[in-house]
Symmetry: D2
Subunit: 341 residues, 4 copies
């Protein structure tokens, strides 16, 4: 059996750990052959196919990024896309695919699976918003980087009695902001799922100053004020074609400064959240996802995605996982309200 | 309502995060008063009770250890123990206890609860072997420290073509060894739940050398050879009264060296696994445990322990949790066999 | 003898380590009394003076920021400033000052010393640009944070074959950019001391892509193009009253993108470079600076600054140190040219 | 010109950074050819020579260990050694050597240089005890690892009011112990250069307990008690043929425990101090050493060693550097006495 592997979407710590465990178990235990499709779906469209054996995956467990490259290419934007993917698989004798990606990449996989391509999905996103799995790998690393940054910013904030706004990743969901904000001892946490009231934010900021501490505000990049209080300075399409609400951190610092009279600054963490060596948790999770994905291929159990539930890895229909986004529930956010202000 | 808080057993990253969230929510939301019992059950026996207010818990979230101190004192080893604990609570007007500890501390709590003391348990151990919860806080930090150490040891092993044995914590369970071993790309992982065959270990070590890589062997301190192949050099009682099997790492390096002719060395990670700032994951988990524990007190839901299931915090009877130890299941260990050798 | 201590300017990892060693040695060895002047020169102007004993400095060695607070207040901007500082010292019986600060704070100290105030200076800046000392504390920590960020960004750059621009601190000098860029394996390093040619930058970027690697460009915030090729998007006064050249990172990414056709992004590291726990090197240096500063006070050797030369701590006239800025010499920059492109 | 490169002795973070900068500058700027001699002097003896071009050094800057392997082989222990080294160089047309190593490796280089082999030395040791250079690369990384471990151990010590002994590397010199001990806030620091009085150690330990803090004792592995108060449990020859004084940490914990009645434990940091990614400082220093070593070859300035003096890289005669070991001077140790106890 020959199995193709591809990684799509934004890079994410743990991608290489998945590739490694897929190949190690597939070759050693099941005698599979592997090839890599370069740069996500682009490789499938353009026939960029590379050999993928055990020597290729030596030493990659602790490395960030992906040895297979990635892209945001969507084969359905090409009239002939599906046929071209099928041609590539046929030309290289690929019997099944393991597709490692986030919302967009797995959405494509779901549709290709419906059209008969045998594949198994592995959820990947630092944003943690894939439905059906307790966690995605990459998220723990991103939260760790953001928390360490918040730890560092506390001392600057205190030394100058200044409000610091930290903008973290999360266009549609506030998982990174919530986890890093709680772990970092933030005083305000703003997430896309819960439009915020700028007056409330300023009240929290001020109550913190009143007890002689300096407030840290953690905002997901997709956080938005209630009822359009914000006029966005900048609206751009990001690398995945999504509209990116830019400047929430900068906007918040200005508003806080103007409304409270306090000194306020912003730090936008940006790409350092998504690169570098994966945390131990992410290496563990990514490794297990890989092992179970290759088992699903062995079982011929296609159209499925591996997922974490508690301590077990399960398989669920890809279509179920990609039908919705996993958002922060109101009750979870409310759990932490006692720390605000 | 006045609530007492105590931390027992070995120190563990996240203890302070629990204390902080208990006090913050208890005071701000429920109007509770708090006191701390110093040094675990010893404070309860000896009446060492200290005030515990919001100022006491400022800034402690990222700090390892416990501001309340800890000990392995067991009130049931004192004839009068239970009565003395009750006297202390009565003397200070303590209406309920929040007990943060591992197997031993929670075992005591279970029995005291049976005897009518209103209390709620919070599971704590870097070993991750408390039954009924997916994870305990402290474990992720310990695994992170051990994984970083293994990452470092790889380069030394490769530069000298030498086998390196890393002894990690885990007297009764192999959770740290298994997680850190997988995350660190170890070639052999030995855990107490699965007595090992030294010939198999040496075969794995040699097969690694044969492909020109240097093997890393991760062994839980409680790992044991099958059928008593090992004569323990040293057997001591540890601080918690348990027999400590000392020297498994040293023994392994000697055996590997003698049997394979390769150069082999040992590193015993020791206490650096249990101290220092908690990881973001542990801060998150410990904070949530604290919030839910104080809710249980508010609800009068005593004799319970908070626990993690998937992404939810549940309560389960303390007696259920302390009736057994959570061991690594054979099927989980076998999942990773492909990486050995 | 009563000694006053103050910390001025931007916060910097190691300030607390200096305060601690000053107080420990001063009290234990020389029997001095200490007070702290809050928030830099502002405390000296406004009489904000706090007791400073050994208990105040317990546990602060590893903590970022400054327990004394900081500000950019300049007593010479106040007509009566010098007299008010003298009044504060007289009112509290302060016999001598230890002044810990960067260019601005030490500039004030130099002038006050000329006017007869007995004081000793300790150089502090993450920028490393104080003249007369091989290193200032805080710099090593900042370089470490920036290097770790660059390490992380490499994997993102490679996975997407994208140019990444990292903007680091350094308004007037390129020390952080040069050290972190070399340590992080950057392909282009731009510093204020050496105006750059955007065509050359793009040529280096392209030559990197040509060998199938993704370029990392490290730019000090004060880097400028030759002959005004850049129209600055934004010019603001920073917290210390300096003009801040904002947007060099963003500008570079746009230019690179337009001129080479490659995808290019920017990460602005910002305040995470100046906060948090100091590196071992900075704790060592800050501790020694503190010990030698209090020795200088003991010796009555005022108007001096402690400085590092090789492995020795020396004293030099404050006036010599503050007469100029320590810039990156052309020959040092040229040493690394082989790594560009 | 063809240049051979070898790395000898214990592995050390930064070796790869030297190799990379030697090759990058040698090839790009001077048009040199390079070969690697495998496993230190063993490769020179046995003719194990491998090609070494720019592709071989891509991506190795942040990696610990050495891509060339290492050993403690001494060609002078072989009757014919020198001739065999000369034969290897002749057989492969090697015109000059760059020898990266510590005391032993450079000692061999000094002698070979005397016998006419054109070579340049680069000092390497985590112990920092090569004479003539302010620092050696690897040392800063080792100190950083040890300091982080001490940071972690503080919280365990405090939580249990226990003395913790940390044994760090340093057979002949106490540089790591002194730097990490000062940076980590240790209460006792023991180094080989200064035989200790166990009564004094215990007095310091007790004085720390008396103010309700828990003592941390940092001991270099080569630390020895005055006048033979210690009976060594174990004396072994280490991998470099030196006698290794084993068990100083364990011995200290036992003595402290018996003499003071306090609970005392030991952590032996071991090999984690010498592996893994180099710190930014070490990457910078190693890179510069490499650049200057290849310049010395270009200049035909053989029999020299590159060294750090302040911020400059100089060349000094190998014979001067290897004639003695750089020990911690009494005056430097005494500088920190105020922190003991």
């Amino acid at each position: 059996m020959k199995v193709g592997v591809l990684t799509g979407g934004g890079d994410c710590p743990g991608l290489n750990a998945v590739i490694r465990s897929v190949v190690r178990k597939g070759v050693q235990e099941y005698g599979f052959d592997f090839v890599g499709l370069r740069d996500g779906w682009r490789g499938a469209l353009q026939g960029k196919v590379v050999p993928l054996g055990i020597p290729s995956v030596r030493g990659i467990l602790p490395r960030g990024g992906t040895i297979l490259g990635s892209s945001r290419t969507n084969p359905f934007k090409d009239e002939d896309g599906v046929r071209r993917v099928q041609d590539t698989l046929a030309a290289h004798g690929v019997d099944a695919l393991i597709v490692i990606g986030g919302e967009d990449t797995l959405g494509v996989a779901t549709e290709l699976s419906r059209q008969g391509i045998p594949l198994v999905g592995v959820p990947k996103t630092i944003d943690n918003d894939v439905f059906g799995t307790d966690y995605t790998f990459g998220f723990d690393t991103a939260v760790g980087v953001a928390t360490e940054a918040i730890d560092r910013l506390h001392t600057t904030a205190e030394s100058h009695m200044r409000a610091l706004v930290v903008e973290v990743m999360g266009r549609h969901s506030g998982w990174i902001a919530l986890h890093a904000g709680i772990a970092g001892g933030a005083n305000v946490i703003l997430i896309p799922e819960r439009p915020f009231d700028i007056h409330q934010v300023c009240a929290w900021v001020q109550s913190r100053f009143e007890i002689n501490y300096a407030p840290i505000v953690v905002a997901a990049e997709g956080a938005v004020p209630k009822g359009g209080q914000m006029i966005l300075k900048d609206q751009t399409q990001d690398e995945f074609g999504h509209v990116r609400l830019s400047g929430i951190g900068e906007w918040l610092a200005q508003e806080i400064s103007e409304r409270t009279g306090a000194d306020a600054r912003t730090t936008v963490l940006g790409h350092i959240q998504r690169g570098g060596t994966p945390s131990a948790f992410d290496r563990w999770l990514a490794t297990r996802f890989g092992l179970h994905a290759v088992d699903a291929v062995k079982d011929g159990d296609f159209g499925k995605m591996v997922a974490l539930r508690g301590n077990r890895i399960i398989r669920l229909p890809l279509a179920d996982a990609t039908a919705q986004t996993k958002l922060v529930e109101p009750s979870l956010y409310d759990e932490f309200e006692v720390f605000f202000g």
